[in-house]
Symmetry: C2
């Protein structure tokens, strides 16, 4: 596949990943970490995933100011002026609006894939074909294509896309978006077959984004009108700092997806996970015979099973775990967590944040 000149990818990398403490912290969040111990960080894996459809020079990252150095270090091929720095996080709608206004200003015919930076996709080739199909579907139209993930369990931690069809791997109209359901509802979704996990990946023309936001979130559009004259100038940073914080804090789902009539989905089995919890991380690290998922080069276990043991960083030395079953043990930057996997919902409390 040859990347199209009109294709751009926007990687949203402003999150703090608080549910993966202590490996993920506000100073060094999840997307900049090699969560799975595979030698690439989550944002690098995201970049890699889109390379077949997008030239390296057409990638954009939107992130917090303090993460600039990490982005430059981890994704050195992205041009510096395409690393967009939010003065503060305002959720995804202002983030996407800023990126797409800026892209459209320089590349009027751009088609844009917007993606989180911290999710996992196991089916990489299939993913590429889905994105490619989506890019063709939006080219020259005002369609918005969301990537739907065929659910494998009645997950209550994700939002759902209700498609007009149960057909997979094909462009279908979306009838509505559903917030995180309760378990009973999630089971019904699973049974119905036309509900798909919302991976937060959107494909559309940059102009479509800007029109939709002007229509459905005019206050954000108005803020961008103030910033736009400074795009690609030395004054951009100052303008951002002055005006960006005025943006309403709102997700693109609320701001646009739930309101626009032009939403489509391509639903696929992509082996996708948001790696949002320790449990989901553990599921994607190869287990030993005793059910342990271990990341770390000097970990020694005795009489230990069903644990997630994650040690990261050059400062970590020998780690010995004896007689634990079903625990998370995570050591990073001098911070240590030992807790039952079953208690992972308490990690925000544990982290003291």
């Amino acid at each position: 596949m040859t990347p199209s000149d009109s294709t751009h990818v926007v990687i949203m990398a402003g999150g703090v990943g608080s549910r993966l403490w202590p490996i993920s912290t506000p100073d060094h969040p999840k997307q900049f970490i090699d969560v799975l111990g595979v030698g690439r960080t989550m944002i690098q894996l995201t970049f890699d995933r889109f390379l077949p459809v997008c030239d390296p020079t057409h990638f954009w990252v939107v992130t917090g100011e303090k993460y600039l150095d990490m982005v430059r270090e981890q994704l050195p091929s992205i041009p510096l002026d395409q690393i967009l720095l939010e003065p503060m996080g305002r959720n995804t709608a202002p983030c996407i609006s800023y990126a797409c206004r800026k892209i459209a200003a320089k590349y009027p015919g751009a088609n844009v894939a917007v993606t989180p930076s911290d999710a996992l996709v196991l089916q990489k080739e299939k993913f590429v074909s889905v994105i490619d199909e989506a890019l063709h579907a939006v080219d020259g139209t005002d369609r918005i294509v969301t990537v739907g993930i065929v659910p494998t369990r009645p997950e209550t931690g994700y939002g759902y896309i209700c498609s007009t069809s149960t057909v997979k791997d094909t462009l279908c109209k979306v009838s509505e978006f559903k917030e995180k359901p309760d378990l009973e509802t999630a089971r019904k979704y699973l049974e119905a077959g036309n509900y798909f996990w919302n991976a937060g990946i959107f494909v559309w023309a940059a102009e479509t984004v800007n029109k939709e936001i002007a229509l459905h979130a005019p206050s954000i559009s108005a803020v961008m009108d103030r910033i736009a004259p400074s795009f690609y100038t030395e004054g951009e940073r100052a303008a951002l700092r002055e005006f960006f914080p005025q943006c309403e804090k709102i997700s693109i789902d609320y701001a646009v997806m739930e309101k626009s009539p032009n939403i489509y989905t391509i639903a696929s089995d992509l082996g996708w996970s948001d790696l949002g919890t320790w449990g989901s991380v553990g599921e994607h690290i190869r287990k030993d015979g005793a059910g342990n998922s271990i990341v770390g080069s000097d970990v020694h276990i005795y009489n230990t099973g069903n644990c997630i043991i994650h040690t990261e960083g050059s400062e970590v030395g020998r780690v010995v775990v004896d007689s634990l079953d079903g625990y998370i043990v995570s050591l990073k930057g001098g911070k240590l967590l030992i807790c039952p996997i079953a208690n992972e919902q308490r990690i925000r409390e544990y982290s003291g944040s």
Copy 2:
């Protein structure tokens, strides 16, 4: 109490404390660590303990070459040429012989208290009176006084001193030394009342040490004869490196105590512990209401009891422990141990040493 000019203290600080991994490592062993979280390291506590009977300028430390900087940093008032550096550990007899030969060369009438550097004594005032009594008892005589600890349990991890008397706090003749007993024997010792723990603290005139070693361990004495001409000269280090390794590797107990007829003991309740195991460390750290012994400034526990949680070092951050009962959790220098206290005898294996 005013220290006598003739009193010297020799602190033996060459051990590696392998049973307290990971806080104690060959690079930073137990005696140089604030094991109990009291703000002083074990060797500092040892120094403090003897200060009432010995002028700071009459302390001597025998240790490994690589520990020189730690000794200087932790005990700055000890004169540099009284920090004696063994090229390699040869157990306690060569260590004590070297120190006492050197002391006697400069201070012919010296009386010497020899002590380990890594034990705990809770009854500090009583300890001082015992040492003072011992110093008086050896002055101008060829007596050797060992400090006996009245046993509080049938401990199988210590050697015992068999006294000719059950009387405490008074100088008594020793009939023999006993190696670590089995449990049944230890129970008999406890019941008999004239068996005391051997704390490895010996008080004697420097000349007595040298005579006893010449008599019972002549090969060590012969090595010291080769080194002695260089004492207090620039050539001492080279002579030590050349000859000291030829010393037989033997403890003072084997070399002298079990052979000499001049051994006495003063047995006392001193609140003594060698802090040789994690369990003994845990017993001497104040427990919270759930039986946890915690050292560390940023430790947060949930549903956790009967644990020893020991975190040490400026690099250690927030530590969270949830749902452990009866475990050791120790984090230092990037090394982490999590194991049941009941498995502490496996720590040498865990440490990979």
